[in-house]
């Protein structure tokens, strides 16, 4: 089985800052592997460890420095990675990005049906959660988002638990398939020493739009049906803190319960 995990380099930290004047994400700081992708990599590597003869390839699309996340993926147990890279991809929204990534997945899978693709739930910079489901759409493969558990997987099919608002669904689908996973699915490992050493030596092929056989009209700004009109950080909600007064602890407790009753909370 060929397991493919899609990863992205994003600004480090869970809360990404937005420039209040331009509305753009501030990308001048440190970059890191998208935190949600850690769970996708871990799950991919766990499936590999349980499935003899399988391998994991990481895929990323991004500028040259994004290669760092492929190294991180190898350090965490992936066997290799490919880097979708070129000016023609610049400005792509999620629809164009998922198209480019799905072309890379197609090239990697070489018509072998025994392919399972993992994505993180979303990125910490744009937060859309589009990529997994959109890739499934481009590829014409079954998919599931918000996957919280892999119940069973073999070279032919996969059965997963998909988190819903009121519980979870159990979904079984044939391979090839695309899954995007949530953080409840596992606890990512710390990269081993041998993994770190392997990641230093790893070489990653760079794939251009031409090599992927992409239709140029579907890439970059031209291939992006969405456009960002405005981007802003909502003002912080004012907190209405009420201090409960009272002479003794018992008084304070009585006053608190009275206040809660008045607010119809009790």
């Amino acid at each position: 089985m060929h397991i493919i995990v899609c990863v992205k380099q994003t600004p480090a930290g869970e809360n990404v800052s937005v420039d209040q004047n331009t509305g753009c994400i501030i990308r001048s700081g440190e970059s890191a592997l998208n935190p949600f992708d850690e769970f996708a990599i871990e799950e991919a590597v766990r499936v590999k460890e349980k499935t003899p003869g399988s391998k994991v390839t990481a895929v990323t699309m991004g500028p040259p420095q994004a290669e760092a996340v492929l190294r991180e993926a190898v350090a965490r147990g992936c066997d290799g990675g490919v880097h979708v890279c070129g000016r023609e991809f610049a400005g792509s929204d999620t629809w164009a990005t998922s198209y480019a990534l799905s072309q890379a997945v197609k090239k990697l899978s070489e018509n072998d049906p025994s392919v399972l693709v993992f994505c993180g739930k979303q990125t910490n910079d744009s937060d859309t959660g589009h990529i997994g489901p959109q890739m499934a759409q481009w590829l014409g493969w079954p998919g599931a988002a918000f996957v919280r558990k892999l119940e069973a997987v073999d070279g032919k099919s996969v059965r997963v638990q998909r988190l819903m608002e009121d519980g979870y669904d159990v979904v079984e689908m044939p391979l090839p398939a695309v899954l995007s996973v949530i953080k409840e699915i596992n606890t990512p490992r710390i990269a081993s020493l041998k993994g770190r050493l392997a990641s230093k030596k790893a070489q990653f092929p760079k794939w251009s739009a031409a090599e992927l056989g992409c239709d140029p009209a579907k890439l970059g700004l031209d291939g992006s049906p969405t456009s960002v009109v405005r981007c802003f950080t909502p003002p912080q909600r004012a907190s209405n803190t009420v201090k409960i007064q009272g002479e003794t602890a018992a008084d304070k407790a009585r006053n608190l319960s009275a206040a809660l009753k008045e607010a119809k909370i009790l």
Partner: protein, 407 residues
């Protein structure tokens, strides 16, 4: 400070730091309270490849030396000197096994040591043989192709958890120190059981046991080196392992400071942060200076030792001889004096730093739910095991006097 570490060594330190923060810190208080070694920690060390840092790649290690090992122990000890121990004790038990093994013995024992599949431990101390290790009473009598071992060993770190014990026995009590021999004895060997589990002041996240041997049959093939070579093997082991204790002590000292300084910056008394008082600042400066001096001593020593060690390992793999024999051929010097100095200085520093950190924080640091008092309890052992600091001073003085006597 970076003392000229390789990229691999920098990676080791980084990895150990991550493990310390993410895996050890959440477990340390409970492990200390329960006096149990959580096996998940051992699993983490295995998965991270930390048991083979000082062993060649041919056997599944990462090809480093004492520096690699010391860096890992130091970083892990910043979180917990007790939870860091399985790496250190497996190296202590494993060093004589690796350095004195024949090529055939290496094939049998070293891959499991390097992967951590089997933890090693070291058993020298007895009830009547502590600092005077040569007074040991555990006997091994040769009967055909095996020894029959009788006696008991005290205060064995990572006891019961470890799988292979490097045990010092006497094969010839009449010869005293020259009758001591090292045997590898596996857990589960008939006649080998565990006695008392010790309740300790510190490093409570590691198990300390008595080992009991009653007519325990051990194959002659498990003997390291010749009969009577045990004491030399033990001394050589200590040359290489004491910097590891020094590194553990440094980690404990640094960990105590790491908990103390942020507290002093936020704790306000007399209307200002405690860290703004000059009396406090000067104390911190002295403590941090001693720690860095200790690091300079440890790592300049290990980096120098590793040049010999790595060369001897390379030669041993090529020739099929033991690492010990190859070290002898290189006519390299013994590191007894500097090794003793590193343990002496760093362990005394750790005890001072941890104790002063309690003073600096005040009453809160005397309480168990504040993480500083544990560092003092954990620091104490570094002044005692692998030779008390009295013995370290003896070793240093003996070497000094010998140097001056030689002119």
């Amino acid at each position: 400070m970076d003392y000229g570490f390789t990229q691999l060594q920098t990676e080791i330190a980084q990895l150990a730091r991550e493990l310390a923060e993410k895996k050890l810190k959440p477990l340390r208080a409970k492990a200390d309270h329960d006096e149990k070694l959580p096996m998940e920690v051992v699993e983490e060390y295995r998965a991270s490849n930390l048991f083979g840092l000082w062993l060649p790649e041919q056997y599944g290690g990462t090809g480093g030396g004492v520096t690699d090992l010391a860096l890992a122990i130091e970083e892990l000890s910043k979180a917990c000197g007790g939870l860091a121990l399985p790496i250190a004790t497996s190296a202590l038990g494993g060093m004589p096994a690796f350095m004195w093994a024949t090529a055939e013995q290496r094939e049998k024992w070293i891959p499991a040591l390097a992967s951590g599949e089997k933890l090693f431990a070291f058993a020298l101390t007895e009830a009547e043989a502590g600092s005077d290790a040569t007074a040991l009473k555990t006997t091994a009598v040769l009967e055909g192709d095996h020894y029959v071992v009788n006696g008991s060993k005290h205060f064995i770190s990572t006891g019961e958890v470890a799988d292979v014990y490097t045990v010092a026995v006497t094969t010839n009590p009449k010869r005293g120190a020259r009758g001591i021999t090292l045997l590898l004895i596996e857990k589960g060997t008939p006649g080998f059981t565990f006695g008392k589990k010790e309740e300790k002041l510190g490093i409570r996240a590691n198990t300390t046991y008595e080992l009991v041997f009653q007519d325990c049959k051990v194959p002659v093939a498990n003997r390291l080196g010749g009969e009577g070579m045990g004491l030399l093997a033990v001394q050589e082991t200590f040359d290489y392992s004491r910097p590891g204790v020094a590194a553990q002590a440094l980690g404990i000292a640094e960990g105590a400071l790491n908990e103390t300084i942020p507290y002093l910056r936020t704790r306000k008394q007399f209307g200002q942060p405690v860290s703004s008082f000059q009396a406090i600042q000067h104390k911190l400066a002295d403590l941090a200076t001693k720690v860095e001096a200790g690091r300079a001593l440890v790592y300049s020593l290990t980096l120098a030792m590793d040049k010999d060690y790595l060369k001897a390992v390379e030669n041993a793999l090529a020739s099929g001889a033991s690492v010990h024999d190859e070290l002898k051929k290189l006519k390299t010097r013994r590191w007894t004096k500097e090794s003793a100095m590193s343990k002496l200085f760093c362990s005394d520093t750790a005890m001072e730093v941890a104790s002063e950190c309690i003073n600096l924080c005040g009453g809160i640091a005397y309480m168990r739910d504040f993480p500083v008092e544990k560092y003092m309890r954990d620091a104490k052992i570094t002044q005692i095991y692998e030779g008390t600091n009295h013995i370290q001073r003896n070793e240093i003085a003996a070497a000094l006097i010998k140097e001056y006597a030689a002119g």
